[in-house]
Amino acid sequence: MPDITKPILEVKNLRTSFFTDDGEVKAVRDVSFDLYEGETLGIVGESGCGKSVTVMSILGLVQRLGKITGGQVLFRGKDLTKIPADELRHVRGRDIAMIFQDPLSSLNPVLSVGYQIDEAMYAHDVIKHDDIRARGVDLLEEVRVPDASRRIKDYPHQFSGGMRQRAMIAMGLSNKPKVLIADEPTTALDVTVQAQILELLRDLNQNTGTSIILITHNLGVVAGLCQRVIVMYAGEIVEEGTAEQIFENPQHPYTWSLLRSMPRVDTSRRERLKSIEGLPPDLIAPPPGCKFNPRCPFRIEQCFSDDPTLETVGDDDRHIAKCWVRMKRAYAEMGAATLTDTRPGAASGVRPPKTLVEKLEDSREIEPDTEAVGDLRGS
């Protein structure tokens, strides 16, 4: 069990922007969270919500157009955003390791897998140089690559997708890091392989106490692995809580909608999916007020003018949400339990103020009208 009194990593008011020709894209907007020792933390959100940029910022991997514009990343009392590059290089890969989504493009095709795992250990003085060769094989065995002593001489193209991801995990673990960050580690893999990789990560966390940050868009993956969950939308944390709180009692309409928009394999298929209408906002000029207001069925007038802050919901201070309405009220006053119409404002009946209508509505989209085509209809 994680020790929830000792944060190993503290992210405080982190802001990261990309300065493009079109303007400043504020990809991470004032994000704060703690990671505790031995904990598995999931960060969920769709592409462009800032989840990857957040962890890239933690490791100082934001490059070129991107820049950390504010905030702190405290690891063992040191602010990783302030320390010199070569000092950060010793944290990266040694204390905090990262595995990426696409294991093929993350591995060098002209070097053997073993060489690349060893390389990670030579770069840091954690493992005695004499032991490195043997540890490479041990690591591959640990991540369940069969016939490890032979396969370690193989090149990445000789490995399957799942094996490559295992090799990446072996590399990440080679220096016994305190924190392992996995950015969509199973997105490119088949479900059966995904299940094996997740089981591997779960065992690692339990056996070695390594803290894990798992980034994914798949809520199911989070439910199986993570003790605590952060939900991000448009560069901000919109809800945070234990896995139980997030999945059983979501309070932010975005979390709630995400959970209801996905078909589940274990429920009856007859029900129409409750889709989230509209698109994620433009991060250069997001809507005023709450950034989810153009898509939210439960919005009220206040949502268009004032941006809510993250506040405790319910009696447990670990569960926080950034919403004026919250699902508790939506259930009590807006009939969320029986909601079938998920269009923006459908449950609350609130239209955006006139001055905002043009800004908020995507004029490319209209209500689908299947009545429109007379001569298309089949017999």
Binding site: T192, G220, G224, V265, R364, E365, I366, P368, A372
Partner: protein, 341 residues
């Protein structure tokens, strides 16, 4: 009409409707190198009834996309028949095949690659109409605007280019293009896997609405079994070029007749920590074998938890058999799937 006939002759059972698509013993081999042969699709047979949605699910490399392309005749079959609306497409060439294709459209996975960036949305949607010389100019514009309206896009944006639209909106454009010729069958090849989670449901709902409205028949290909099961009436599970199980969607989660289906279902994560904590993963040993050298006998025997090796599973390829009404499986020991896997 079968129903009317039954009304005329009391006591007669209504005949099931003629299949719209009958795939019979279709095999597709690709040549690899000098002497290698990729067994992409191996002796696959199934029917799709009019108005039905049949899902085709399998891991990468299972041959599901190749099968979709063989059905639409984008790649020719090595052997076997694709009988669409009573006509064997594999025997047609040139103009006669083109005329049949009108009724058989496809929606592709990648909404960025499947739309020509230099054509306007209007031209993209009108292209099938122009190809078949169906509409004059004025008529064409009207039709394009109607199609845009049907898929939920603003009809006055027909002069815009694909890059001005988001992924989900582009997929709507792809759907409109597929609808333009009023097809009977649409092959949807992973139509939502490139889209954001919050957008996927929009497209699924749209496809379902269109089906109801226009009497469409879908072959829905995807790797995500929860999506496939949601949209389909029947689900086919494919492994290494062969269909290993066909089942009504409703029954699939409750029980499985093939060990691979069971393994696949056990691996799908469910967004509920309580269920996840009780998950019992059916572990498959090793990885999917290369379709260049498919295993002998039942090609799943190298990974199957109940295979008799050495024995019948390694020696003899089981047939796809009806195990209970409407449920087909290709396994020597499907009785054991419920208890021993």
């Amino acid at each position: 009409m079968a129903v009317d006939a039954a009304a005329v002759r009391p006591g007669a059972t209504p005949q099931p409707a003629e299949p719209l698509l009958r795939v019979a013993h279709v095999t597709k081999h690709f040549r690899a190198g000098v002497s290698g042969v990729v067994h992409a699709v191996e002796d696959v047979s199934f029917d799709i009834k009019p108005g039905e949605t049949v899902g085709l699910v399998g891991e990468s490399g299972s041959g599901k996309s190749t099968l979709g392309r063989v059905i639409t005749q984008l790649v020719p079959a090595t052997s076997g028949q694709v009988i669409f609306d009573g006509v064997d497409l594999t025997t047609l060439r040139g103009e006669r095949l083109r005329q049949q294709r009108r009724h058989l459209q496809m929606i592709f996975q990648d909404p960025f690659a499947s739309l020509d960036p230099r054509m306007t949305v209007g031209d993209i949607i009108a292209e099938p109409l122009v190809n078949f010389g169906l509409h004059d100019h004025k008529e064409k514009d009207r039709k394009v605007q109607e199609l845009l309206r049907v898929v939920g896009l603003n009809p006055y944006f027909n002069n815009r280019y694909p890059h001005e639209f988001s992924g989900g909106q582009r997929q709507r454009i792809g759907v409109a293009r597929a609808l333009a010729l009023n097809p009977k069958l649409i092959v949807c090849d992973e139509p939502i896997s490139a889209l954001d989670v919050s957008i996927q449901a929009q497209i699924i709902n749209l496809l379902e609405d269109l089906q109801r409205e226009f009497n469409l028949t879908y072959l829905f290909i995807a790797h995500d079994l929860s999506v496939v099961r949601h949209i389909s009436d029947r689900v086919m599970v494919m492994y290494l070029g062969k269909i290993v199980e066909i089942s009504p969607s409703e029954d699939l989660y409750e029980s499985q007749e093939h060990p691979y289906t069971k393994a696949l279902l056990s691996a799908i994560p469910v967004p509920d920590p309580k269920i996840e904590s009780q998950r019992r993963l059916v572990e498959l040993s090793g990885e999917i074998p290369s379709p260049l050298f498919p295993p002998s006998g039942c090609n799943f025997h190298t990974r199957c938890p109940i295979a008799r090796v050495p024995g019948i599973c390694a020696d003899e390829d089981p047939q796809l058999q009806e195990k209970s009404p409407g449920r087909f499986a290709k396994c020597h020991f499907s009785d054991e799937v419920r208890t021993k896997v």
